[in-house]
Amino acid sequence: MGLRRKVAIVGIGETQVGALPDKTCMELYTDAAVLAMEDAGIERDEIDGLLSCYTWTDGNLRHHVRLAEALGLPPRKYTATMLQGGAGPTAALIEAAAAVEAGLCDVVLVAAGDNMLSGWPSRDEAVKFMGTSDRGHVFEFEGIYSIPMPGYFGLLAQRYMHEHNVTSEQLASVAVTMREHASRNPNAYMREPITVDDVLNSKMIATPLHILDCAVIADGAGAYIVTTAERAKRCRRDPVFLLGAGQAYGYYHIADIPNITDSLARVSAEDALREARVARGDVDFAAIYDCFTPTVLLVLEGLGFAKEGQAGAFVAEGNLRLGGSLPTNTHGGLLSMGHPGLSANVFHITEAVRQLRGDCGERQVANCEVALVHGIAGLESMHATAILGN
C-alpha cells in the first residue's frame, strides 16, 4: 500500500463516556472535534477533509455535511460518511491516510459519536432497535427469529466453544480485565472492578453470553486529526505515524460464514503487519474491538497473538493486562469504557495515540512504540487493522 510513515495522527479528542442525557449526539460530535483541534493546535479553517463515522441514534446518509455545518466548516475538498459500522473509525483512518497521501486534502478531521444510552425514548426501544434494525436484509431470513444483538454473537461463541476447549470462565476473564483497565480511566463509564463470578452470576442474555459478557451501552464521542508527516512537524504534539493498515470483508449473513471460528482479522492483520514491517512480537499495545467477550478471543487468534483455540487461556493467564505480554484496551474497551453505538472504535484509536505519546499515567504501557488497533463491524464480517508507531 505504501502509506508507511507518510501520514500521522496529530490530535485527539474524547468526551466523557457514560450517561449523558443532557447532550445531543451532535453536541457530543462537535465537542470531540473541537477537543481534537485544540490538541493538535490546528485551526478549524485549516481542515479540508472531514469523515463522519455516522451514528445509530441520529444518522442520515449525509451526516458529514450536517457535521460540517455544525462546525461552521464548509467541506472543502474531501468528505464522506463512513458506513463501516463499528469499524468506521479504523476504516476512516485508512481512508484519511489514502486521501492525504493522494493529495486530495491535507488535514482530515475524523469524528465518531453516538448516544444509544440516552438517545432512545427508552431502554426497551433501544433493545428493540438493535434487534430489528440495520437488518433490513438480514431481517427477512434471520431477524424474523427474534434475535437480540448478543444472540448473533452467542451463535459465534457457542460454535467456537464447541470446537475448542474454551470455557465461560475464560470469556469472563476478558470482561474482568477490561473492567480492571477502566478503573484507571476517568473517562470510562463502568469502573467498579468485577470478578469472574460476578460475570457468571450476571443475567444470561443469550447463551453463552451474560450481560457482563456484553458491551455496556453508553453515550460518547471521539475525534482525531490526520495530516502529512510534513505538516505534523508544526503541530502541538509529536506525531503518531500510521505504519500499515489492512481491511477484510466477508459475508453479510451468518449463514454465509464458511468457518465461524476463522476470523477475518487474519486477513486484515497480515496486510497491516506486512506494510508496517512489524512482527507480532513488536506490538507493545493492542486495541481490539470488544463488543462481546468471545469477539476478543476470536480476534486474538485471527490476529495471530494466540494459537487456534488458545486465546481463552491466553487471556485468563493475564496476558492482556498491563505487564502482560500484550496489554490490550487499557481504556476499558466497549465492555467497560462504553459502547455508545458507532463511535466506540474511536476510543481504541485515541487510547493508542495516548499510549504512544506516553500520556497514560497509571495505565501507561512501558516503552510503548508500536500499537495495533482493530475495528470490527457487522457480525464480525468487516475488519480493519491499523498499526501505529511513534
Partner: protein
C-alpha cells in the same frame, strides 16, 4: 426513520416476526406456505444457495431453478435467548444455524425440545409455523424426515 430500521409485524407468542417477501424471495415463501422448503439451485453448476440472490455465488450464473429440499439437517450452532428483543416475547427459546444436508445453512429456531437438550450436531428437520398474515415460517424440530416422507 433511521437508516436500516425495520417496521416489522411481531408475533410475540411465537417469538417471531413476520417477514416481508420480495420479488426475489417470493417463491421461497410460497413454498413455506405450502409447507415445502424450497431453495434456489444453479442450473449450471447445480449448487444450492440460500438466502435467495440474483446469481450463483460459485459460478455467477443467472440460470436458476427453485428446488424442493428434504428439510433435513443438523444444528451447526445455537443460542438460547433469555432476553428477547421485545418484552412481550416468551423466553427462553432456541435460535440456531441449521446446516441442511443439501450443503447450505440457514437461520431458524429449534422447537419441540427443551433448550437444555439442544446440542450442536443434533439432527433436525423442518416444520412450519402458520401465521395469520399469509406467511408460514420454517422452524426445526428434532429428528429427520424419513426418505419415504
Amino acid at each position: 426513520m433511521v437508516l436500516g430500521a425495520v417496521d416489522a409485524q411481531a408475533i410475540p407468542e411465537k417469538n417471531l416476526f413476520v417477514p416481508k417477501p420480495t420479488r426475489q424471495s417470493q417463491p421461497f415463501w410460497d413454498g413455506c406456505r405450502a409447507h415445502r422448503l424450497t431453495l434456489q439451485r444453479c442450473t449450471d453448476c447445480r449448487q444450492f444457495r440460500h438466502y435467495p440472490r440474483p446469481r450463483c455465488p460459485r459460478c455467477l450464473s443467472k440460470s436458476v431453478e427453485w428446488s424442493d429440499v428434504s428439510g433435513n439437517g443438523h444444528i451447526y450452532t445455537f443460542t438460547v435467548i433469555h432476553r428477547p428483543p421485545l418484552q412481550e416475547m416468551i423466553s427462553p427459546y432456541v435460535v440456531a444455524q441449521i446446516a441442511l444436508v443439501e450443503g447450505v445453512r440457514m437461520m431458524s429456531q429449534v422447537v419441540d425440545v427443551q433448550p437444555d437438550a439442544v446440542h450442536i450436531d443434533m439432527p433436525v428437520s423442518v416444520s412450519f409455523v402458520d401465521t395469520d398474515f399469509g406467511i408460514s415460517i420454517p422452524v426445526f424440530r428434532p429428528g429427520h424426515h424419513s426418505d419415504e416422507g
